[in-house]
């Protein structure tokens, strides 16, 4: 049965209000955001296994790289040739990884009730939810901030006609942000964090189309 996400979230919130993870369901009013990125084996949520999770805290205009999460998981059975091509992660790179359960617990503690930022963040959240639900009985309740939407909302005023190019590399180059370690979860999370801070606190980029 497919329950719309919002309804499901309300349900989960009610049922966990007094549980050990109650804090996660509090509404958040601080100025911090967590930039999150996962490397997975597939772009299909149903098939995807998590390889690594990177997350970094953003406070105001600062990316707190000293307070970060860089989790590598044990290689899943499905680690296939295709995803190796995407992420350049091989099974051997993951040999000293941690268990998924540990990773999820660390991740929940790290995020708390802060909003989650990402590039196509709904994908990452859905993959995490997929593994979270069987263990905890809920998905990530946090507010999600989609970087490409933030970008789009700002750029569209400057942009006459046509579609806005929302590719990762394009956004980075439009915002003149150096891409840090592309195709590692932590690197992408930091780059996204920088782009977000840039969009929130800097001047709107000049469109060069």
């Amino acid at each position: 049965m497919i329950i719309p996400r919002t309804i499901r979230r309300l349900q989960e919130r009610r049922s966990h209000r007094n549980g050990p993870w109650a804090d996660l369901f509090e509404s958040y009013d601080g100025d911090e955001v967590i930039s999150l990125d996962c490397e997975t084996t597939s772009l299909e949520v149903s098939e995807a296994e998590i390889l690594s999770i990177g997350a970094v805290r953003i406070k105001g205009r600062k990316v707190m790289t000293s307070d970060r999460l860089d989790l590598r998981l044990k290689p899943p059975a499905s680690l296939s040739g295709d995803s190796i091509k995407v992420h350049k992660i091989r099974a051997s790179d993951l040999s000293d990884g941690i268990e998924l359960e540990d990773a999820l617990e660390q991740l929940l503690k790290f995020i708390g009730n802060r909003p989650i930022l990402g590039y196509y963040v709904n994908y990452d959240i859905r993959v995490i939810d997929k593994f979270l639900r069987p263990h905890y009985g809920f998905g990530l309740p946090n507010k999600a901030i989609e970087l490409s939407h933030v970008y789009h909302d700002i750029i569209k005023w400057k942009h006459i006609g046509g579609d806005v190019d929302l590719r990762f590399d394009t956004i980075a180059s439009q915002l003149d942000i150096p891409i840090i370690q592309r195709h590692t979860a932590l690197g992408d999370a930091i780059t996204v964090a920088l782009m977000y801070v840039r969009l929130k606190h800097g001047q709107a980029p000049v469109d060069t189309h």
């Binding site: 000293s66 150096p178 920088l194």
Partner: protein, 605 residues
């Protein structure tokens, strides 16, 4: 922080692995808009900032961009001093959008506690900084000299004889090949037989001349790899008390390197050129020797010998060439009555590439020598053919203006000193750096001593004379324009202010040395400069000259005619981060020195 933070840059490269890990785990990233203050004067800074992207300027508190001290760019760090001090005394403002790594003060303190070198780098003066760089930087000074590979020295082809060759035949072969050792092949092995071995066998042991050399050979060969350091070969020879090492390339034998070859490599080739100059009996011989100088300079610079020594050596060589030419061209009965002087950079002994000839002749009052000017014309031409380009200002002996009797010369000097007009001041600046190179030096000394006495206490003159050194702006602001300009004139910006300022001080205190470094030393001794300041100034000057030389050599190499049209240009994009760092610090020293001069000689405004 992952790889966006480069640990290879000084001072972070001074840290060990654990300390670097500490840095990595404590870095944050900050984003700053254009015009935003990253550190505000009077406030407590968060820590050291390292620029990932963007540009930051350091300026005096309050006044907007009035007094810009420094610009910082990619990978530069700033705020270290402020962080250690507790409060910042300058404003640090993002000049464009900037992203910085931030290393908290707490961690900085920890690192300074645990790593003495790192602490020194953060706290020390400029000269101490360059010292640390010299020891730890790559390709600096003596280190590289010591890093020469065996393959760069003379590897001699071995003389190989088969088993069964008699002592007599072997000796004959050695004589024919002018070799002093022979390798005897016995089966698959080689044994070495030296001249001493042969003597021992025949004279001491009384073996016959038809003895097989392979019997007296020693098969315990000491070998070194072709790619090994020459210095190691030298160490090996010293330890084993041997004079030859067999050079191998993998499994195959390449040759033999001898102790004398190693030693002569290390003693450089300057000695050889010096000898050739001394021995030259004709102008053609001399010209040939002079042309070897360029190669010598290149070799010295590329092996990284300290720039000051290179300059000293070169000044000595050029002086000897001129003295020798003078000797060959001026009739011996005239030599005691004239004196050849070199001026400008040559007089100071600070030219590296052969620079323009700046020379003059002083002769005894009342000397009658009809062919004097003709001879001088030919002298200049000869020097041109030796590769000393003519002086564009025509300051050379072929110009009668610069051939004077002692009386006229002193008159000229005092005339120049009294006029404040540009050419006179420039002529004077060139002339006070004069140094005699050939002929009767007493003539020169009389004129110089008179002039120094003449200037005593003439405050007006010194004030005028010093002005030139503060005329050009220190190009610190050039950094702000790095992207569009990307280059600076190092002579105007750095070298000239130091040289001229030191010259003025030296003149005022009647210091006879002409070399800027020696003048600085004398001024320190005299109590006119603080030792720390003097050393900083000297280091800054060396840096400018070294950077200029490196770029000159590159341009000369790239150009078709071996001529560099812009010898004083520093292209900033050619510099690595370290050099830029040092250049900036050095320019700050120039700025401070100019301030000192302005105060001392009342050059306000």
């Amino acid at each position: 922080m992952p790889d966006s933070f480069k640990m290879d840059n000084i001072p972070f490269s001074l840290l060990d692995e654990n300390e670097q890990a500490l840095v990595r785990s404590n870095l944050d990233l900050g984003y700053y808009q254009k015009g935003e203050k990253i550190i505000t004067a009077g406030e407590v800074p968060e820590g050291v900032f390292v620029i990932l992207k963007g540009r930051v300027l350091e300026s005096e508190a309050g006044d907007e961009q009035q007094h810009v001290y420094v610009h910082y760019e990619d990978e530069d760090y700033f705020g270290g001093w402020s962080a250690l001090r507790g409060t910042a005394i300058h404003d640090f403002i993002a000049e464009e959008e900037t992203i910085c790594h931030i290393l908290p003060t707490r961690v900085l303190h920890e690192l300074i506690q645990s790593n003495a070198l790192f602490a020194d780098y953060f706290q020390q003066t400029f000269s101490a900084k360059t010292e640390i760089v010299a020891q730890h930087g790559k390709g600096q000074d003596m280190t590289e000299f010591m890093l020469a590979k065996i393959s760069s020295a003379t590897v001699r082809e071995p003389l190989v004889v088969e088993q069964g060759t008699t002592i007599q035949d072997a000796t004959r072969l050695m004589r024919e090949h002018k070799a002093d050792c022979v390798l005897a092949r016995k089966g698959g092995r080689f044994g070495m037989v030296t001249g001493t071995d042969l003597l021992d066998a025949v004279v001491l042991k009384g073996q016959g001349l038809d003895t097989d050399v392979s019997e007296i050979a020693s098969y315990r060969l000491i070998t070194a790899d072709l790619e090994d350091y020459l210095f190691n070969a030298l160490v090996m020879m010293t330890q084993q008390q041997i004079e030859r090492v067999v050079v191998m390339n993998g499994q195959s034998m390449v040759g033999i390197v001898e102790l004398t070859d190693v030693l002569s490599y290390f003693s450089s080739h300057s000695h050889v050129i010096g000898l050739r100059i001394e021995r030259a009996s004709s102008i053609d011989d001399l010209r040939e020797a002079a042309q070897g100088l360029n190669d010598l300079i290149k070799a010295l610079v590329s092996t990284g010998v300290k720039i000051r020594f290179t300059m000293d050596l070169l000044a000595a060589m050029n002086g000897r060439i001129m003295a020798k030419l003078f000797d060959l061209m001026i009739p011996s009965d005239m030599q005691p009555h004239v004196c050849l002087i070199v001026m400008g950079s040559e007089g100071r002994g600070e030219q590296i590439m052969k620079t323009d000839q700046d020379n003059a002749l002083i002769f005894r009052d009342g000397l009658s020598w009809a062919q004097m000017q003709d001879t001088m014309n030919r002298f200049s031409e000869m020097l041109i053919s030796f590769g000393f380009p003519p002086c564009p200002g025509n300051i050379m002996v072929s110009n009668p203006e610069w051939v004077n009797s002692v009386g006229d010369w002193t008159q000229k000097l005092s005339d120049w000193a009294e006029t404040c007009e540009g050419t006179s001041q420039m002529n004077l600046a060139i002339a006070v750096d004069a140094k005699p190179v050939a002929g009767n030096q007493a003539l020169f000394k009389v004129a110089r001593n008179w002039f120094l006495r003449h200037l005593r206490n003439n405050d007006v003159f010194f004030s005028h004379f010093a002005r030139a050194s503060v005329e050009f702006d220190t190009p610190l602001t050039f950094f702000g324009n790095i992207k569009d300009k990307g280059q600076l004139d190092i002579k105007k910006g750095g070298i000239f202010p130091i040289v001229h300022g030191v010259r003025t001080l030296a003149l005022e205190h009647r210091i006879l040395a002409t070399n800027t470094y020696k003048r600085i030393e004398a001024l320190i001794e005299d109590g006119q400069l603080r030792e720390k300041d003097g050393k900083d100034i000297a280091e800054a000057l060396s840096l400018f000259i070294q950077l200029r030389l490196r770029q000159q050599m590159r341009r000369v190499e790239e150009s078709d005619d071996g001529f560099d049209p812009t010898p004083n240009l520093i292209e900033l994009h050619q510099l690595n981060k370290m050099d830029r760092d040092l250049l900036r610090d050095a320019l700050q020293i120039v700025k401070a020195f100019k301030k000192h001069l302005a105060l001392r000689y009342h050059l306000g405004g």
